[in-house]
């Protein structure tokens, strides 16, 4: 424990004495982490939006006019019983007509002129995992009192295509950005160690073991990594709040769940990555100067 205290003291003393390099390293950690954090928040929210869009893919089950109230009830019960199904809503013939009128707006009087109601009753089924839409649809198809099962196959496939491409691009971008952050930070740390390589050499020459030299550097790295990441976290959090506030004000009709990523998750990732890169960057960056 005396050793830990010594290493800690060494690390803090060095951070203070080499404040120029400390600040440079902090700035790099802070900036990289802030960008990474901001993009993480962005990606998570987009992901939530994509999920939301996918939820719009529903199955419409059109019923024959001959169906009885009892049959409707049995079918509803069966559908709701399937675990893939999130919700199933019955739309009567009247409701269908009402909706059509609303949808048409300008052309509504066309419908007014009709004597009878040509629209069928239907179930509208939303799923927990929208991608299973095809399977569920085929399970329903061909039953006797069902006229037609439709889930806008083409539209649905397009949506899934689009969301999966966006998702892939974003994930790749996020991973790359993570890699970039790590490289930038360890790069700066290596540079700050490089500037002190003579000191490391001297330490070796007066009989210090590699780990005796390394520990203070590792602690320094952890301190810089964590402090920089914490600052980044604070800025990202404030920035997100500010942006979300403004989006909510301006785009009240949007239903984006802006708490897609929690402060805790973000904190764990940023602080963890910061401390880890700091520690390993310092530890590994030293290696080539320890060969004396």
């Amino acid at each position: 424990m005396g050793k830990l205290k010594f290493f800690l003291g060494e690390a803090l003393r060095s951070l203070r004495r080499n404040y120029f390099m400390t600040i440079a390293a902090l700035v790099t950690v802070f900036l990289s982490m802030a960008v990474l954090g901001a993009v993480m928040v962005f990606v998570y929210n987009i992901e939530a939006v994509l999920k939301d869009v996918e939820q719009k893919v529903e199955i419409s089950v059109f019923l024959k006019d001959s169906v009885t109230a009892e049959q409707i009830e049995t079918l509803q019960a069966e559908i709701v019983g399937w675990e893939e199904v999130k919700e199933s809503q019955f739309v009567s013939k009247d409701e269908a007509l009402q909706r059509l009128k609303e949808d048409m707006g300008e052309g509504a009087d066309v419908v007014e002129d009709l004597g009878r109601n040509p629209l069928p009753a239907s179930f509208e089924i939303s799923l927990n995992d929208p991608e299973e839409v095809g399977g569920i649809a085929s399970r329903l198809e061909g039953r006797e009192y069902i006229d037609e099962v439709s889930y806008g196959q083409e539209i649905a496939e397009r949506i899934f295509q689009v969301t999966s491409v966006i998702r892939n691009i974003l994930v790749v971008f996020l991973v790359m950005l993570g890699g970039v952050s790590i490289l930038l930070i360890s790069n700066t740390i290596r540079l700050s160690i490089y500037a002190r390589r003579k000191e490391v050499e001297i330490m070796k020459l007066v009989g210090a073991t590699n780990w005796f030299i390394r520990w203070p550097f590792v602690i320094e790295g952890i301190v810089v990594g964590t402090v920089g990441a914490a600052a980044a976290l604070a800025v990202v959090q404030l920035g997100t709040d500010f942006v979300v506030e403004r989006i909510r004000e301006n785009l009240i009709f949007l239903s984006v769940p802006f708490d897609a990523i929690s402060l805790v998750q973000l904190a764990i990732v940023l602080l963890g990555v910061g401390a880890l890169i700091g520690a390993t960057g310092s530890g590994l960056g030293l290696r080539r100067f320890l060969n004396v």
């Binding site: 060095s14 001297i202 330490m203 020459l205 009989g207 073991t209």
Partner: protein, 227 residues
């Protein structure tokens, strides 16, 4: 204590550092290393602390063959050798006190007894009042004395000094020589590279003269310039 067998060190591509040096230094000896600028004195010393490795030959220090010494054991070798470097090699981010203390801390000994030792040795070299200064706030001679203090503080069985009085006035030099003399009397082996003719002539100790990497003289009770 120290054994060199046909040791040759060539700096790439073809600068001779040492060439075919055979040497035996007994425990408790006091040896002056002399020779013109660039004759290989510092190279000899750097080989002793395994800062560099020879291209040929065998070096043994305290019975350990440096050629087969495992890498992780090198620090333990160095703790048993106090070394005053020609260019001082002080840690610029540590105070004078901490620089000297560091030589004790590396051995896992940094407590209050260590601090007392540091204070004593700084007092001995006349730098108590500079304890909390940093190396770049010291004069050349003061830095040199810090390097000396750091090499002594550990009471190592082998003490090597590379021109330790080059930046010191004659009076302070004499003080340092007295110190080396007393340390040697307690059984410590001392090797000192120097250009100080007066001092070598006055001490009448073993003198090893190098020229162009080769030993050109090895005299039991020699002077600086004798043949």
């Amino acid at each position: 204590m120290i054994k060199f067998e046909d040791v040759t060190k060539i700096y790439p591509p073809d600068t001779i550092g040492l060439e075919g040096v055979d040497l035996h230094i007994e425990k408790g000896e006091f040896v002056f290393l002399v020779g013109p600028s660039g004759s290989g004195k510092s190279t000899f010393i750097r080989l002793l602390i395994k800062e560099i490795d020879p291209d040929r030959g065998k070096i043994a220090v305290g019975g350990r063959d440096l050629g087969t010494l495992r890498k992780w054991k090198v620090p333990y070798l160095r703790r048993n050798i106090g070394c005053v470097f020609q260019d001082f090699k002080l840690l610029s981010s540590k105070t004078i006190f901490d620089n000297v203390l560091y030589a004790l801390q590396v051995t896992g000994n940094g407590g209050s007894s260590a601090k007392r030792k540091v204070s004593e040795i700084l007092n001995l070299v006349g730098l108590s009042h500079k304890a909390s200064n940093y190396p770049d706030e010291l004069s050349g001679g003061e830095q040199q004395r810090v390097s000396i203090a750091r090499a002594f503080v550990n009471h190592p069985p082998l003490l090597i000094a590379d021109e330790p009085t080059g930046n010191l006035d004659p009076e302070t030099s004499n003080g340092i020589m007295q110190l080396l003399y007393r340390i040697n009397k307690t059984g410590t082996t001392v090797i000192m590279a120097t250009h100080d003719r007066e001092m070598v002539d006055a001490m009448r100790r073993r003198v090893i003269a190098l020229d162009d990497g080769q030993i050109v003289r090895d005299q039991r009770r020699g002077g600086y310039g004798e043949a």
